[in-house]
Structures are given as C-alpha cells and as structure tokens.
Symmetry: C2
Subunit: 202 residues, 2 copies
Amino acid sequence: MKFYDGAAPNPRRVRIFLAEKGVEVPTERLDIPKNEARSPAFLKKNSLGAVPVLELDDGTIITESVAICRYFEELYPDPPLFGADAVERAKVEMWNRRIEIEIMTNIGAVALHTFDFFKDRVMQVPAYAEAQRETSMKKLAWLDGELADGRPYLTGDRFSVADITGMTASMIAGFVGIEIPEELSNLRRWDDRLRSRPSWDA
Amino acid sequence: MKFYDGAAPNPRRVRIFLAEKGVEVPTERLDIPKNEARSPAFLKKNSLGAVPVLELDDGTIITESVAICRYFEELYPDPPLFGADAVERAKVEMWNRRIEIEIMTNIGAVALHTFDFFKDRVMQVPAYAEAQRETSMKKLAWLDGELADGRPYLTGDRFSVADITGMTASMIAGFVGIEIPEELSNLRRWDDRLRSRPSWDA
C-alpha cells in the first residue's frame, strides 16, 4: 500500500492515528502549495484533488481521513481508537462528528474564507468567516461545558479518534488566531492533555 | 431503548436506515418547530438541542444520526449498510463523508442561511447561501462524473448508508429548489433509483 500525505490538517489526522498505533506505512508526501494533489495524474486517484489518499496493492483507492483511519483500525486493532464495544463505538462516532461539525468545520471556515491559498478553491465570503469566528467561540464554550465532568477524553477514559479530530481542530485554531479563553478551564485541560501526547508532533 | 425523532433531514436518515433493516424501535416524535428539542428537559439529553437522539435502557445517550445508525448496524447486522468487509467498510465511510461534506452540507447551507426557521439558530450570511448554491451545482457535476461507470450505488452493487445520506441530500435540495440538471444523467439515474425504494417515504 501507499499513503499519500501532505502538510495539511486532514492528512495529519491519519499521521497522528498511525503514530498512536505505532505503525509505519510507505508514504509519498505531496507538495500541497505546489498543487501536486491537483495534477492530472493525482486527480485520477482522487477527483477532489486532495490528500490523504490510501492506495492498496490491488489499486483500490480510499480517500477521506476518517475512512483511511477506519481501515487501519481493522488492520491494526490495538489500541482501539474507534471504541472497543458497540456502545463505545457509537460514542466515538458521535463525538468525532460533534467535534468535526461543531468545532473543526466552524474554525476551518475562518481559514477557508480568508486565506489566499483557498482563493481559487472555494467561493470566499469574508462575512461568513467573521460569523464563523464568532460561532466558534460559542461552540468552544459549549464544549467546555460538556467536559465539565472532568473526564480525560471525549468518550471517557480512553483516547480515541474523536480526540485526534480535536487535535486537528486545535492546530487549525492556531492558524486563524483562535485561542481557548482562560475561563474555559475544562477545555484547556483537555487541550493540554492532547498536546502532551508524543503523536502531537506527527 | 427510545428513539427521539422529528420532522428533519437527520432523523430521517435514521428512519430510512431502520426501514432498510426492517426494524421498529419505540419512538417519541418531537415537534421541532415548537422547539421541543430545545426544552430544558431535552437539552439534558442533547445539549445541542437537536434530534435524532437514541436513549438506551441504562440511560446512555447517543446523538448524531450516523452514530445511531452505526449502533443499529451492530444490533441488526443484516443487511449490512456500512459494508461487509474492511475495504467495503472503508469505502462506505469514504462515500458517506464525500456525500455529506461535498453535497449535503453545501446544499444544506442554502437552507440554513436563508430560512426564517434558522434565524435564531445560526448567524445567517445570505451571500454565503448564494455562494453555496453555486458551489452545489459544481459538486453535483462532480458527482455525476463519479457515477459515470454506471454502478447502481455509491460504493458499487450494494446499497449503503452513503446512499441514505444521498437520499437526505436529495430531500434538502427539494427544500431549496435545487434540481439535478437534465444533462447530469448519471446522477439522475442514481437519484431515481433511490427514490424508488420503499424506505424513501420513511
């Protein structure tokens, strides 16, 4: 197999996932600013012109970071990062989606709608970026409330792919200058805990 | 268990899923326009004030339509709607996310940013709605190209939860007056195939 990687938040989700599993995979790193993910040859692998992409030995293509992580979870079940039983797996899915939809996407929209890099990739609406910056702060306060019971990770005692999505959101927040306010102490504790993991640097 | 339902696209995803499985679950239908999902009692179940919610007999709460579907997949494995082996499961995840991110979310943004119903729920940016209407048409053309090989369903011969997400996107498109252009014949064939399923009316 071959993992097509690049310097961007979504491939980083897979890199963190693999680091947490202790697995190394043959990797080709694309130069994203040089549009290598949008070359005619690469568009044949992923018509959306993006990494990550996993190519299996029989030519099967898997795109989308969470789909790739889910495939690796089946190849390398330990430690379980998508949950260890039906209820835990449902909770991981629930929290991965909550963090992605409520937190990461809102924060990401600030970058998508203001950075020059995305000018020819999305129809930028700067007023939307401003609205999403404000919305993001409300959602951070919501998440702080959710973590008020002091549990170490989103689904309880076990680190999961939902926390990895949180690590990615935290990185994107840094890009757009969104900081966790001092008073959101539950959220800060969780964020500090994630930053202390060796996989943070993946 | 109890399934909290309501007249909205995301709970409909779960209703279609259950219809495809041939399963009935004790259900309480909330009146969404009357804000029953945002009552203090219901906010204790889902702090995001939304359906669907699945409450298990021990009080465990699962929110997010896909998380609830995934839980039902484990309880009722046949027919498999999340894939039958590791590669197929990865492809279902990939396509479910592609349809959700590239199609459903873009079309949904047109409703979110123009409908009175969402006025106090999101910071509406009408210019963003217009941009997303245009983006949606480009994404429909992209999806038409992806379906040009004539396969019946997104991941191949087997209907999956990714197609259910497509059914939901199709319904939202109707709400905002987005129609599949005549020339996107691959997409039209797929959409017609989904509309002919008995679960369409779930």
